[in-house]
Amino acid sequence: MPTPYIKLRLFNQSIALLLSRNVLWLLLALSLSILCLIVLSINTGSYQLSTLQVFNILFNQRSDLTSDNIVWLFRFPRTLCAALVGAMMALSGAALQNVTRNSLADPSLIGISQGAALAVVSSMMLFPDLDQSWRSMLAFCGSILVALLILVLSHSNKSSKPIRFILLGIGISAFLSAITTAFLTYGEIYRASAALAWLAGSIDAASWQDVRILSGSAVVLLPLLILGSRAMAALRFGEQSAICLGTRIDSTKYLLISCSVALAAIATSIVGPIGFIGLIAPHAARRLCRSSVAAHLMLSALLGALLVLAADLAGRSLIAPSQIPAGILTQIIGVPTFLYLLLKQKARSAM
């Protein structure tokens, strides 16, 4: 009998992964479906292109200018953006859930996305001349402030249940959204409409610049999370057990939370708040297959990419020529998932 696990030891065992066969198959299947969805997404739209044409344009560049432009300037960056944003939001949610030991934690639910949104919208309204490249930075600052606020508020309570943190987040996000709405309703109308499109979580304006920012930050942050996966596995047992298992919990906790916040903030700064992916993807990954923390992170990332790709594709083909922003669709799928988690005993005790 072959062993059901594949052991992967890297860098003098500072990263050790235990991958079961099932996980490997799942990773492969998910990557393949993402590839298919990317091709389908490039195909679909108001300008008809066949799959063959798309392959021609992508690989040998021998085609007419119109379809060339459509693929390279609009559909391809948009598709890549959707996939990257999905993966980043999913990773952010998964890390947050592991660190806070709370399976209902999601960056869009507890105000982290709203912090980014407020920072970006206020800068768009107050300093319209500011370059777009500052957005990611501002979004990160807004999000990290909110995350710190929630941590401070929920920490000082001795008997604090992990779940109280969600209620605090709901309050904070209501507060932040109100201020954002004030900016939107009463700022100058042409600036407000640009901000409004961004705020609905729409991917339609994605450019190669956005793809570069997203992939760059993903390349930096993903290894950090994988490095932290061992600490996250220990944290799952509770903080005291984690200390006993030799985890430096304060430093790892803050490192992981800042990674998670950074992922959510950068994704949000590019496409606006995409709700609930950080909740759906990690949960679905857990249901699909038992896996170690690192494998779970990878599965969540792929699932998140798949979900946002699908949401974006559905959003622009369901009621074409109008478009439903991907963020709204993920919210519509996400709420039932949240309620399902709420109804299950596990939501309270397991994490």
Partner: protein, 340 residues
């Protein structure tokens, strides 16, 4: 037993009645202030003339009669209704966070109004309250059913979480409706942030009597709410038919919320803030909490609306935005302090 309660309450009755008179007079001062401030400040003398001997060729009188008076009256009606609805909900569910906005009633009512307008083209103030009531009732039932089914039952936590989730879903669906036909919903954009502006007296006359009936009902059963707030078992032991009373109260809450939404859109957090402030002063006796909630709620929304209309003069902020900015910190405080 009954007489001993009366005798204990006797000294309070006097001071509470005095407090009621004081708060009513503060309310009427706010009412006058509300009418006089704005893009064009008007003196109290003009105000008095406009109210006593209305002259429809006088431009200032027209401003008061057509724009400011409806708005002030609606602020009073909406503030009182939402506060009483919140007070009832907090008493019946024994849940410090219960209020029409937190438990999804506002979102449900707004969603129903949006559907009514988008699919069936209903805009008449005669029908919107009932459509809103249908939406608020459905959303409330959904939230309660989900929270009851969740492990631990209908606790503060479960109710709040399922309320937030249902509100998020309805908000997304409203956004879809808005995107699907943008032209029709342009007018609704401001209404959806909870705005008291742009209403006529006509819709007030249609909706206010229904509100009044619900308010009086709440006042009549307020003694039983006090008993209910001690817990179901104690209430039953004291001879209250809890199920019937709860249904009656829930209907009152739904009607109050729906009428407010039909008038002013979803004005959040009023029903959370005011009852807490009131209970801080008058304690847990709902015979006092309900009427004071109505008075203070009316005054609170008048004051908030004065701020909303003057803070970035000559533009106006939606009242709902200000109530959320005031109310959300209180929500956070309550989660931190009251929730064990």
């Amino acid at each position: 037993m009954n007489s001993s309660i009366e005798s204990v309450n006797q000294p309070y009755t006097l001071s509470y009645s005095l407090a009621a008179i004081v708060s009513v007079s503060i309310c009427s001062m706010l009412f006058m202030l509300h009418l006089s401030v704005g893009a064009k400040p008007l003196s109290y003398a003009v105000l008095y003339q406009a109210l006593s001997s209305f002259d429809n060729s006088n431009f200032d009188h027209m401003i008061i009669h057509n724009i400011r008076l409806p708005r002030a009256l609606i602020a009073i009606a909406v503030g009182a209704s939402l506060s009483v609805a919140g007070a009832i909900m907090q008493g019946v569910t024994r849940n410090p966070l219960a209020s029409p906005s937190v438990l999804g009633l506002l979102a449900g009512a707004s969603f129903a109004v949006v559907i009514g307008l988008g699919l069936f083209d209903i805009t008449s103030p005669l029908y919107t309250p009932w459509i809103a009531a249908l939406g608020a009732g459905t959303a409330a039932t959904l939230v309660i059913v989900i929270a009851t089914a969740a492990p631990g039952g209908a606790t503060t936590l479960n109710l709040t979480l399922s309320g937030a989730a249902v509100s998020a879903l309805l908000a997304a669906l409203i956004a879809v409706m808005q995107l699907a036909n943008e032209d029709d919903f342009d007018d609704l954009r401001e209404w959806l942030t909870g705005s008291l502006a742009g209403n006529s007296l006509q819709s007030f006359y249609y909706i206010a009597p229904v509100m009044l009936v619900a308010l009086v009902t709440a006042l009549l059963v307020s003694r039983k709410i006090t008993v209910l707030s001690m817990g179901d078992e104690i209430a039953k032991g004291l001879g209250v038919k809890t199920l019937g009373l709860k249904i009656q109260l829930m209907l009152a809450v739904i009607v109050l919320t729906a009428c407010s939404v039909a008038m002013a859109g979803p004005v959040g957090f009023v029903g959370l803030v005011v009852p807490h402030a009131v209970r801080f002063f008058v304690g847990a006796d709902y015979r006092w909490v309900i009427p004071f909630s109505a008075i203070i709620g009316a005054g609170f929304l008048l004051a908030v609306d004065i701020v909303a209309r003057t803070v970035i003069n000559p533009q106006e902020i939606s009242t709902g935005i200000i109530t959320a900015i005031v109310g959300a910190p209180l929500f956070i405080y309550l989660v931190k302090v009251k929730l064990r």
